[in-house]
């Protein structure tokens, strides 16, 4: 059994004889443990709760908190709360999708970037806000986001050359 499958099994063991109401807590535990919800984990949960995977996937996609791909090396979140929206976070998101070529919830093929939108980070004074690997960037603009992305890329190129 794969490492991740074992971890999921251990989590499921904490929810014996459970029904559908245990679904969300189980999914949260798995995401905390693995960083995302792999297909195989969803199928394990399905077998445990006797639920079809279409149902579990449906429930999981209803909530923004769940990811279905592992985070990239640089995880970017864009706040879509009201304050940030008013200050142009929509444009930011559009720009991010275009430059990184991924949609929210996705991870780039080279695994360098992943993108996520969040409801409100509680930093409305700094709107619009983005985070890169949990670091806050206030008053973000498309240009700033592009700069940050370039930095991350350069960092990798540097590393590769060094090694």
């Amino acid at each position: 059994m794969k490492e991740s499958a074992k971890k999921v099994k251990a989590i499921l063991a904490k929810y014996p004889d459970s029904g559908r109401d245990a679904l969300i807590p189980i999914l949260q535990d798995i995401q905390d443990e693995l960083g995302y919800l792999p297909t195989s984990a969803i199928m394990q949960v399905g077998a445990h709760l006797a639920l079809p995977s279409s149902k579990i996937y449906g429930v999981a996609t209803f909530y923004n908190q769940f990811r279905f791909q592992p985070k990239g090396r640089n995880h970017i979140t864009i706040c879509r709360g009201t304050a940030c929206h008013v200050k142009g976070s929509g444009k930011l998101l559009e720009n991010a999708v275009a430059t990184l070529k991924i949609k929210p919830g996705q991870t780039s093929r080279d695994k360098l970037f992943s993108l996520e939108t969040v409801a409100c980070m509680g930093a409305c004074g700094l709107a619009p806000v983005i985070t890169v690997n949990d670091e806050f960037n206030a008053k973000a603009s498309p240009a700033k986001l592009n700069r940050l992305a370039r930095c991350c890329k350069d960092e990798i190129t540097q590393e590769r050359e060094n090694s």
């Binding site: 079809p52 995977s53 279409s54 579990i56 996937y57 449906g58 996609t61 279905f68």
Partner: protein, 573 residues
Amino acid sequence: MIGIEANGRTVEAKAGETILSVLRREGIHVPTLCHMEGLEPSGACRLCVVELEGSANLVPACSFPVSEGMKVRTGTPKVLEARKTIVELLLSNHPDDCLYCSRSGNCDLQKLAGDLGVRQRHYREPRPSRELDVSSPSIIRDPAKCILCGRCVRVCEEVQAVSAIDFTGRGSRAMVTPAFNSGLNMSSCINCGQCVVVCPTGALAERSSVQEVMDALSDPDLTVIVQHAPAVSVSLAEEAGLKPATDVDGKMVAALRRIGFDRVFDTSFTADLTIMEEGSELVERVNNGGVLPMLTSCSPGWIKFVETFYPEFIPNVSTCKSPQQMLGALVKSFFAEREQLDPKKIVSVSIMPCTAKKFECSRPEMANDYVPDVDYVLTTRELGQLLRMFGLDLASLEPEAADSPFGERSSAGKIFGASGGVMEAAVRSAHYLLTGEELQNLKIQPLRGMAGVKELRANVGGVEIGACVVSGLGNARNLLDQIKVGRDDLHFIEVMTCPGGCVGGGGQPIGTERDAVKSRMETLYRIDREEQLRVSHKNPWVLRLYEEFLGKPLSHKSHKLLHTTYDKRHVPL
């Protein structure tokens, strides 16, 4: 009984029933979208709202229970306005693709917009870009046209117990998709097409093979033969605008010739042949301690269901190919030899009430030296399309007979189209094969009718047989679960994927409801009642085929051409 007032008229109602059910009985039309006959109301679309005296808000008729003295109005300005707004909102991000849409002309959304007088766009929202899912050999999904009514999800889960699709995402991103947003072919979908029949829009449709068939017909080097399934002749009338459930067998044969098919065969012929092969297989299993209960194998959605969800039952499934595949295999062997044709130059088309048949004919097992038994499957609906394309009016065509050598059938083969028909045909022949005498009364009532589960205990030539007939995979799932925990009184089980059997198939006219299925079924039994040749083992051409070509049932040649194997499927359940 209680009394309510509907549009100022006092009408009777049963306590506990919904407003909608009373109104329908009284002939008062209320439009619905999410409502499904026989299933619990979901109240999702609100299109069925009516005005209730004393209530500030409109109430949904499909889920609101009646109460003594309630006063309902269905056509007030408030009601009509509310309905119109709902439809306008549904259209706000709709692709407006009617001219090119598979459902133009029989789309509920289009009709509602027309009926309610929507002639202007009041709301405009960005159209989400949604990819077409063309991954399935049976069904095309076009999520851009989906109005999220949930009918497909419910039929897939509550009737078929498959749950291949569900709502995903929310708000403007909400969609109906298979698990992991994969294509249908990677999901647990078993291709039954029940979702297509209930979908009110063009979001779900069969994968059409009309163009491929037209191309074959116009190629002079090819011999194009066609077979038609037992349930098609009793449902095609609806596609052709004739009285529903009229049997148009002979007219259809005539039409198929006009379209240009070189030979027209009747799948009921190989239904008779199936009885010989499957009956012999059952006798062999019973006599030699083989795996029991034996499960029928005519319905490809059911086969895929077993392979996907209950692989442990694969040894129980009869190895017989379905009648469609048997006929295909014979066309490219016996018939090709007889007519001195190269099997590769024969195109074998079948008209089926079924979308799963499209998948079945593409299975690698269903070919001989890589030459597929059946090349293209057209649904009843696609045949309707062909008739319209060629401008053929069934009403004015004189009936013609199908071609030999696969044109003659017994009515036992014909009733294969109804749930219970295979079993009835099998019992008729088994009785003869085991006792040497014909059954006194050929009508086996317990196996007939619309019930999802029918059982029969019979003593056939001293052997006590337990038989069960189920249709709708939800019922099949229940039965398999019973057997898994020890039920052991059954020898032979007939399973049809679709409720009521092929007459209720996923390739049948859009919007087919229970009553339509029932009348088609009745027509099949009427045909049987009026027929002279009512048992498969007396079909002269079946006997000749054994004499001249196959030898005997379960012979080496039969095994090679008429039997098959199954495999466990690995898809997310």
